[in-house]
């Protein structure tokens, strides 16, 4: 009996279990998934929880519901991957594998920045990238009386790079609806050179910041959070004051990657960006946020990767050359507040542009434009996530490789 071992039962790991159980003959292959947590969170919903747009029960289900029959599901902490021996050490047992899929994701590490998780943590400093953080922030916002709201990115790369911007847009709507927008100053602080960094997006979307009166502070690389005086400081000496700091802490790969000596300097696993095979071990494949691919860390990317990884694992088993086909395709809704959203579709080489999606020239979704239909798409996505995406069902009309049809490229 050969063994396929999947580490992590988040979006990517769960999808791969569902993909591979359909393809690998049960008499030859045993598939096992390991994760230490029993709850599967709908992470895109963490953005909505702080504004009371989703309830906590909308965001969590038991992980076992999504692990297909016939797959072993082990709820234990992973201590170390011993790649030279094809073994994975768990808290009280050791598993061996023929093929390993690493899907251990990325996590936030506020302790990486001086003062971030100090005495103000979850009092006037919050994250919304964790269930606990989003919930604590919701409770804070229910009674907050206004002041300086600073939405902040510590450093790149982060999971779902547009989420902080969406947070700022939704905050604008939230305070308007509460009749207290005048009491809130919203500032968006980024280590990049702007809220938008690609030429097309900047040209098309910069008006949103002005319209929503969101100030930008750019090229800001945080050195520390001063809990006493409520301000953040940049290495260059610049300071931004806050009454409420909503930050995206440093994102790193899981500690197990570091303990196993398999990561880069941010604990992401060096991975072939087109085939998804690890660069160091031919029987290790990496999917989702755990890899160092220059693609966005997002569920849609993991979904597109899964289709290609399934095929490459089958090719690897058959001794055939791997397909080098993953193009970095990502497809993301961006909430802009007031019941509208944008949709972007892009890959390694093409930046987001205007056009229609998924049907060229028809839509119904519009790329890089604020519409109500896009917002409906984002809300519908929760159903798609639970019922299709993580179960590895192909989503009709949306292909793993990006389509260039119906899009307004300059050349």
């Amino acid at each position: 009996m050969k063994k396929l071992l999947i580490l992590g039962a988040g979006t990517a790991g769960t999808m791969m279990a569902n993909h591979m159980i359909k393809k690998l003959p049960r008499e030859d292959w045993e598939i096992t998934v390991v994760d230490q947590y029993k709850t599967h969170y709908y992470q895109p919903g963490f953005l909505f929880l702080p504004f009371d747009l989703y309830k906590t029960k909308d965001l969590k289900k038991k992980g076992e519901k999504f692990i297909p029959r016939g797959v072993n599901y082990i709820l234990k902490k992973i201590k170390k991957i011993v790649a030279d021996k094809n073994e994975v050490i768990l808290e009280d047992e050791t598993l061996s594998y023929d093929i390993l899929i690493i899907a251990t994701g990325t996590k936030t590490f506020p302790g990486e920045t001086e003062g971030m998780d100090g005495k103000g943590w979850y009092k006037d400093i919050f994250d919304f990238y964790t269930y606990d953080g989003a919930k604590a922030l919701r409770n804070k916002l229910r009674n907050w009386e206004g002041g300086k709201l600073v939405v902040h990115i510590t450093e790149m790369p982060i999971k779902c790079p547009v989420a902080p911007l969406e947070f700022a847009f939704l905050a604008d709507s939230f305070f308007k609806n509460k009749g207290m927008r005048e009491k809130v100053e919203i500032t968006y602080v980024t280590p990049l050179e702007g809220a938008f960094t690609k030429p097309k997006a900047t040209e098309t979307l910069d008006y949103l910041l002005e319209e929503k009166r969101i100030k930008q502070v750019v090229d800001f690389n945080i050195e520390k959070v001063d809990n006493e005086n409520k301000k953040i400081t940049c290495y260059s000496g610049r300071e931004v004051e806050y009454d409420l700091l909503v930050t995206v802490p440093t994102n790193l790969g899981d500690e197990v990657i570091e303990h196993s000596g398999l990561g880069d300097d941010m604990n992401f696993v060096p991975t072939n960006k087109a085939s998804l095979q690890s660069k160091d071990y031919e029987n290790i494949f990496v999917i989702g946020d755990a890899s160092n691919l220059p693609a966005s860390k997002a569920g849609s990317v993991a979904h597109f990767e899964a289709e290609i990884l399934e095929e490459n694992i089958l090719r690897y088993i058959d001794g055939k050359p791997l397909k080098e086909e993953f193009d970095g395709h990502a497809n993301c809704f961006i909430e802009t507040g007031n019941g509208k959203a944008l949709l972007i579709d892009f890959n390694y080489t093409h930046e987001p542009v205007e056009g229609s999606f998924p049907f060229p020239g028809i839509g119904p979704l519009k790329l890089l434009k604020e519409t109500r239909m896009n917002h409906m798409g984002k809300l519908a996505f929760r159903w798609i996530y639970w019922n299709m995406l993580i179960k590895g069902t192909h989503i009709p009309f949306v292909s793993a490789k990006m389509s260039e049809k119906g899009k307004n490229f300059d050349n």
């Binding site: 990486e112 450093e155 790149m156 790369p157 790079p161 547009v162 911007l165 280590p191 990049l192 050179e193 938008f196 960094t197 690609k198 030429p199 997006a201 979307l205 090229d219 690389n221 050195e223 290495y235 260059s236 440093t250 880069d264 300097d265 941010m266 060096p270 960006k273 160092n292 220059p294 966005s296 990502a330 993301c332 961006i334 972007i344 892009f346 987001p352």
Partner: protein, 96 residues
């Protein structure tokens, strides 16, 4: 000096056209006088670029090449922005 292809922001679009002389010209345009320390950082950035690894302030901090205060002192303003320009590699970007 041979000509190189630049984008509208002055970044090289083809790293293979880079050489030290070009790096020096870009540095001078950005009011930076290159020292051995500057070149050490530039070489590190180019190495990361060739390996297709993402650049970040943290990566630089962990690299052991330089601490962040010094990085700011060598390349004032937006150090990653300026140093990548001199190194002839693309500026770090977000997805949108």
């Amino acid at each position: 000096m041979e000509s190189v292809d630049l984008n509208e922001e002055g970044y090289l679009t083809n790293f293979s056209q880079w050489n030290k002389e070009i790096g020096n010209v870009i540095a001078t345009e950005n009011e930076i006088t290159m020292t051995d320390r500057h070149w050490e950082v530039v070489e590190y950035l180019q190495d990361k670029h060739v390996k297709e690894e993402a650049l970040s302030i943290r990566g630089i901090k962990k690299s052991g090449i330089i601490n962040i205060k010094e990085f700011y002192a060598l390349f004032p303003g937006g150090p990653l922005k300026v140093s990548t320009k001199i190194a002839g590699i693309p500026k770090p970007k977000s997805c949108i």
